[in-house]
Amino acid sequence: MSFINKPKIAHPSLPTNALGLTRRQYEGAMSTLCAGCGHDSITAAIIEACWGLDMRPEQLVKLSGIGCSSKTTAYFVSGAHGFNAVHGRMPSIASGANAANRELTYLGISGDGDSLSIGLGQLVHVIRRNVNMLYLIENNGVYGLTKGQFSASADIGTQAKKGDVNQTPPIDPVLLALSLGATFVARGFSGDKAQLVPLIQAGLRHNGFALIDVLSPCVTFNDHEGSTKSYIFTREHYHAVMEADFVPPAAEIAVDYPVGESIPVQLHDGSRVLLRKLDASYDPTDRSAAYAFIEGKLKQKEFVTGLIHINESSTTEFHTLNKSSAVPLNRIPYETLSPGSGELDKLMGRYR
């Protein structure tokens, strides 16, 4: 065997969730990424988020494209089906999978190369199609597996490990998603798990397309001085604007925020996101204002993090627009799908 299986023995004292499962039971195969890779921290946040949501492992569908980030779907929730698509084409696989079964929870993992270069067209259209999924971009500004070329998210003036300076403007996935009308847009940092976990939970529960851009430094090719996607640069320049706490449907609101500072947003399944403003003037439900704010901060080389935009009242989710049956399409009995011989005989009259 050329892959490593981690033993699945859990210590009896490990805490369990409502399903009686420990965090270990949401893990996957051993990561083969570089030691210290930001992506592994995101994997840990996903495990924590799914465990905390009491999600049945088989309820989750993991989708990815090609690249370092796309490999990570093998490293969490081994009880969930995974689909490692071709480079940049995960959004179409996700769209089809979601069309076939609207009841499962879809988590797409992609990178800046997979999403913003080869897969930009598919990303744009999955947003436009408003497929109910969480799309997580593990954004490090470089191509890792091919040894450090700039990606389309590389900032102007950022320096590659070998010394090249990037001069072409970056595509910012957050601005892109906002401009396309995505109904849940967030940005996180792989080094801030406390912020990321509730964002992932809210994104998974959001009814419609949710995008989280996670800045995730590449320790091997993009963590040096001169890079704008290094750990140090990101820590110094990220600006949390809106903290989110995810509140499951049945749970009491445990944290008491002073009135006027927190905004509870009800998600379609009854759960809530509690938003806490860190910037007094910021309104995450105002898409245009959010766009202007993020753009302004980017000009100052500040990466705004947190839940940047949310719109829970949108009615453009794919199955809503399609008027799909409540029963997933892959479970409708054949007897219901076939018009039968009588209808065919009748239909023949149209062609005489």
Binding site: E58, N84, P91, S92, S324, S325, N330, P339, S341, R352
Partner: protein, 616 residues
């Protein structure tokens, strides 16, 4: 008034061709004539030669009245209805000696119409219509109906049948019905008063269309997808496959919408391109829905990457390739069979794919259903290779029938209970020694979880870069493909199989080949004919190839792609296969086949002698 010259009495056996301008509404008049003939019990074909254009370019429609029931294009024109001034000169030339030309004499065209061996009939159609109707658009549309009326008189069409069709078409719009009826009478009465009706080339009632319909292959295939239980269709618009998805959607809106709630038991997704269309199909099929995409050559080129993934990761899917003229953009509104090699070996690496070759709309319906069963049984992409001629033209077919006992073959798919009883599930292990593994669907049971990937994997579904592990999977895939020959539709043999000369062909060549065989039969040259219906080829194909000394391979492309596939994938001796090729973009007629075989045998008289001395 022209005097009609005598022509051979050809009842129910002639060709009328209409030369029109695209976008002038001629299609409804032309199909009115064709349907009338069909309803009079006379076999008929309708071929549309249209431009890649919305309005203004020349377009032709050809109706073959064929009492023998031949499906192919005749390859000649007996009556030309020349309504397009721009193509007059060409249209006049195309009429056979002794034939007829009908033109609009409102504007004199004498200089262009000089041909002593045909009968030219000038009728002031525009003048008549302009005197009776208002409105520019209205006049253009009704002029078509006026020439339909003219032809009704000349061809002896049954007015009651025409009235019935008009009532059916315009029944809900009385004003439209009145105008059309009036226009029809204008043409009809003019012919009765000024011309000797009917022509010797005319239609008389028969009883040879009972139990038959006129339908195009795309409609039939779309209907087949409905009956197969397909629920997800994804596509990117492309001629000539667009009408397949239009049909599927239309039928779904009729049969798959809950009358109470309006809930829809289907999803049709217009993707941003063909790369996404096939991705959506794979995602849906992987998740347990029956999913398909209709496309044409350029779309297949784009889909290659995902087709390779579907082959290697064993994801079932159905791809309809309604072939058009290539290479590149080619001629989008012309027909060809030039994607055979492209589909057989689509994508990089060692890949081979199952192909189905429908020959007519009836087979499009049944093969659509078979394609889904095969895709799930074999867990692989299935290509249905139709073409523009089958897909977009109206063909006379037997009524489509449905067996209510049919249930989809979902193949080896493990249920929650089966998974619960398993110690451990491995995606790509050949448990039954038939090279087909078991699959599971997401959401059913965590035991069934596996990782689908296009990267190197072992039989347990794990990532691998180990040569031996990789080869176990790749070798099984090869066995699975070879075994597929046992599941696909068998080839159809015509003839006793004991002649020395044979014909092998596929798809829409069938009508022309059958007609050629009849012609050659009358010339005492007897041939066996094997129509391939699928790839991989079965033992029946090998047997036919080995038992005939000379085999003509008839196909519609320049590079003899079917012949290439036969030489690569069977044991046949290459020199035995002689090509008869048609790649003009127009549907095949029997002429080039008869001539091609005659010419080849003239070069090798030995063959001819052997055959004519055979027992038949």
């Amino acid at each position: 008034m022209p005097k009609l010259t005598a022509a051979p009495d050809r009842v129910n056996d002639f060709v009328v061709k209409f030369a029109n301008v695209n976008g002038t509404g001629s299609a409804s008049a032309n199909s009115l004539i064709m349907k009338t003939i069909f309803r009079m019990g006379v076999p008929v074909t309708g071929k549309n030669y249209f431009p890649s254009n919305i309005q203004g370019l020349p377009t032709w429609y050809e109706i073959r009245v064929t009492r023998q029931g031949y499906a192919a294009r005749a390859g000649r024109v007996d009556i030309m209805v020349a309504m397009n001034a721009e193509t007059y000169a060409k249209d006049v030339r195309e009429v056979v000696s002794g034939g007829y030309l009908i033109y609009d004499a409102t504007w004199p065209r004498s200089a262009l119409l000089q041909r002593g061996d045909i009968t030219v009939i000038g009728v002031p159609l525009a003048k008549m219509v302009n005197e009776n109707f208002d409105g520019v658009r209205n006049r253009i549309l009704l002029k078509n109906i006026a020439y339909a009326g003219l032809l009704a008189a000349l061809l002896n069409l049954d007015l009651e049948v025409i009235d019935g069709l008009m009532r059916q078409n315009y029944g809900k719009k009385p004003k439209l019905l009145d105008a059309n009826t009036k226009a029809l009478r204008l043409g009809f009465d003019y012919a009765k008063q000024h011309l000797s009706c009917p022509l010797p080339l005319r239609v008389e009632h028969m009883d040879k269309t009972r139990g038959h319909i006129m339908i195009d292959g795309n409609t039939a295939a779309g209907l087949g997808c409905v009956y197969a239980g397909a629920t997800v269709g994804a596509w990117y618009p492309i001629t000539p496959s667009t009408s397949l998805m239009d049909a599927f959607k239309g039928f779904c809106e009729r049969y798959r919408v809950d009358p109470g709630t309006g809930a829809r038991n289907f999803a049709v997704i217009q993707a941003e391109d063909e790369l996404a269309a096939i991705g959506i199909v794979l995602g849906a099929a992987w998740n347990g829905a029956r999913a398909f995409t209709p496309t044409s050559g350029p779309g297949i080129s784009l889909m290659n990457e995902f087709v390779g993934l579907a082959y290697y990761a064993e994801v079932p899917c159905v791809i309809f390739d309604v072939q058009r003229v290539g290479p590149s953009t080619g001629m989008p509104t012309r027909t060809q069979q030039s994607d055979i090699m492209l589909c057989a070996y689509a994508s990089h690496g060692d890949t081979r794919h199952v192909l189905l070759f429908p020959a007519n709309p009836e087979e499009c319906f049944y093969m659509a259903v078979q394609a889904f069963d095969l895709a799930e049984r074999l867990q692989t992409p299935i290509f249905v290779l139709s073409d523009l001629d089958i897909g977009m033209n109206d063909w006379m077919c037997r009524d489509l029938k449905w067996d209510d006992a049919y249930r989809p073959d979902r193949g080896k798919m493990l249920s929650a209970e089966e998974l619960a009883g398993l110690d451990k599930f491995y995606r790509y292990v050949d448990r039954d020694d038939d090279a087909i593994p078991y699959r599971t669907l997401p959401g059913v049971n965590p035991k069934g979880a596996y990782f689908t990937r296009g990267s190197g994997h072992n039989q347990y579904g794990g990532y691998t870069e180990d040569s031996a592990e990789y080869q176990v999977v790749l070798d099984r895939l090869k066995r699975k493909f070879v075994n597929a020959a046992n599941y696909v539709p068998k080839a159809i043999l015509t003839g006793k199989g004991d002649n020395q000369i044979g014909i092998v062909s596929v798809g829409s060549c069938d009508g022309a080949v059958r007609e050629a065989i009849d012609v050659l039969d009358r010339q005492k040259l007897h041939l066996d004919y094997l129509r391939l219906r699928a790839f991989p080829f079965g033992s029946d194909v090998e047997k036919f190839l080995s038992s005939h000394s000379t085999i003509f391979v008839v196909e519609q492309n320049r590079d003899a792609q079917l012949r290439s596939l036969l030489t690569l994938e069977t044991a046949v001796e290459k020199s035995k296969l002689k090509s008869i090729l048609s790649y003009s973009g127009f549907p095949m007629s029997c002429g080039p086949i008869v001539d091609g075989i005659r010419a080849a045998l003239a070069e090798e008289p030995r063959l001819s002698a052997v055959t004519t001395n055979s027992t038949r």
